[in-house]
């Protein structure tokens, strides 16, 4: 299934459209990722959200992108994006 995040389409104004607006308020900076440790879940990651302590974030590391909770010593430059929603597998 395709999620058209940057395209205006017929769903604008509908419930589905409002749901997308809520989940993806900034389509051009929002990315959907999956996490190997949580099969079925989808991470909604916004690169434009300023990172802060205690938030879940995706970090750039020399072993690839990694999901982590930011502690007080985090470096902004290593934050790839901030997790804004986690869509969980209902099971």
């Amino acid at each position: 299934m395709a999620v058209h995040m940057t395209r205006s389409n017929e769903i604008q104004g509908s419930t589905a459209g409002r749901l997308l607006d809520m989940l993806l308020p900034r389509p051009s900076s929002t990315f959907l990722l999956r996490c190997a440790e949580a099969p079925g879940a989808i991470l909604v990651v916004d690169r434009a959200v300023p990172p802060s302590e205690g938030r879940k974030a995706v970090l750039s590391t020399d072993r690839g992108l990694r999901l982590a909770t930011l502690d007080s010593r985090f470096e902004s430059s290593s934050v790839w994006g901030v997790v804004t929603w986690v869509i969980r597998d209902p099971s």
Partner: protein, 433 residues
């Protein structure tokens, strides 16, 4: 033609060229921060030639368009990461870059998948260069794609400014050629073939006549330039003096013809396989035709064997489509019929192409009181386009194209990522959620 002074004056308005750095490579690196600083290349379909290089690969001297088999061993020794092209990902990333740019400009022209010309907004508190740097950092923060920004009163000069920004990191990724400032030192360093629109076509001619740099072209006589390079060349020359001759074209101009072609992964012998390939190319061309709201009045098919093996066989057939159509059903029928007229048994075909020509607007006034039968094929094709777009992949396609096809391009090193297809999202590791 005499002095340009009285007719056209250098213009105070500025425009910017935003040019994504090594775009395909940057797209592949988006989810692979471990590839930062490592040599990366992207290959054309069938992994034939190098079509994008990271800076590290450029520094190694590997050229654009280099056949992969020639540089493969060398690239491997250098620890190069090699990707098959993932054009769907690049288009998705491009759509985001363009959407983000649209927010910062009153008017913009998407020039290619990785370049856009932007009219600078009237802004009192920022210098043009600061504005360019802001756009650059906004774009990287939001989309993850590094760009170079060139600012100037004219497109040709903005192109050169963006080149300078790209090649000289000390510029911070943005460079401005402002009206009223001297450009001579800058243009002195620019080889004439680097000027937009000059290229190899004119540079040999110009160099033979002593015009080897941009500044010499700018200072050449108008009548001489027009005589030898035409009006387009003369405008290029004026643009190097900061006079805007090419405007920012917001509306995408519809293409005058549409081609869809490919080399096969392995040679194709049978008429049936060739017909499958030609059907697929006709469908791809048809989708582009409908996307630009055009109808095709002619269709051509070309097939050829390898140019490196004798005997060579290559033929082209063209048929008139009357009335013009945008229906896949009609396009496929015309393509298969054309193929039959040129297909010869016993050859190993390596390449085929479908071309659509005599394009006219699909939005012209209705000529018939009652819709003709052809319109049903057109409506069906549009419905298929819509469904496939929503699915993010070809959900509906002719039955002959189902399943594995040996002629489809090899993509051995495909990253497989997509931004908007839930089945192909990048997977990361880390703590549980």
């Amino acid at each position: 033609m005499g002095d340009t002074g009285p007719v056209l004056k250098p213009c105070g308005r500025l425009l910017a060229l935003c040019d994504c750095n090594n775009f395909f490579v940057s797209c592949e690196r988006l989810f692979r921060p471990d590839l930062e600083g490592r040599p990366v290349v992207v290959l054309s379909s069938n992994d034939g030639v190098v079509i994008a290089r990271s800076n590290e690969v450029k520094a190694l001297g590997v050229k654009m368009g280099e056949p992969y088999f020639k540089v493969r061993a060398f690239l491997e020794r250098q620890g190069t990461m090699v990707f098959s092209s993932n054009f769907q990902l690049y288009e998705e990333v491009s759509a985001r870059v363009m959407a983000a740019l649209r927010r910062v400009t009153p008017s913009m022209e998407v020039y290619s998948v990785d370049e856009a010309f932007l009219e600078l907004p009237p802004s009192a508190d920022l210098s043009p260069l600061e504005w360019g740097k802001d756009v650059r950092s906004m774009l990287f923060r939001e989309t993850g794609i590094p760009v170079s920004v060139g600012i100037a009163p004219a497109k040709t000069a903005a192109k050169l400014a963006a080149d300078r920004a790209k090649k000289h990191p000390e510029t911070g990724g943005a460079f401005a050629l402002l009206p009223g400032e001297p450009w001579d030192d800058f243009l002195l360093d620019v080889p004439v073939e680097d000027v937009w629109g000059i290229g190899r076509r004119w540079s040999d001619f110009l160099r033979r006549r002593g015009i080897s740099t941009a500044i010499r072209l700018r200072d050449a006589r108008d009548d001489w330039v027009e005589k030898h390079l035409g009006v387009r060349g003369l405008r290029t020359k004026w643009e190097l003096a900061g006079i805007r001759c090419f405007s920012v074209e917001e509306q995408e101009k519809p293409q005058k013809s549409i081609q869809s072609s490919r080399s096969f992964a392995s040679p194709v012998r049978s008429r049936e396989c060739l017909a499958e390939a030609v059907t697929e190319f006709a469908i791809v061309a048809g989708r582009r035709l409908r996307a630009q709201q055009s109808l095709a009045g002619s269709l051509s098919v070309s097939i050829s064997t390898s140019r490196f093996r004798m005997p060579f066989y290559g033929r082209r057939a063209e048929v008139v489509i009357d009335p013009p159509t945008d229906s896949d059903i009609h396009l496929i029928r015309a393509a298969v019929e054309s193929l039959s007229s040129i297909y010869l048994d016993g050859h190993d075909y390596e390449k085929a192409e479908v071309g659509l020509g005599c394009l006219s607007s699909a939005r012209r006034p209705q000529l018939f009181l009652f819709p003709q039968r052809e319109d049903r094929g057109s409506a069906l094709s549009r419905a298929v386009d819509r469904l496939n777009r929503e699915a993010g992949r070809p959900l509906l396609l002719p039955a002959v194209l189902l399943g594995e096809k040996a002629w489809r391009p090899r993509k051995d090193r495909h990253s497989g990522f997509r931004l908007e297809d839930l089945e192909k999202l990048p997977v990361i590791s880390g703590e549980g959620v």
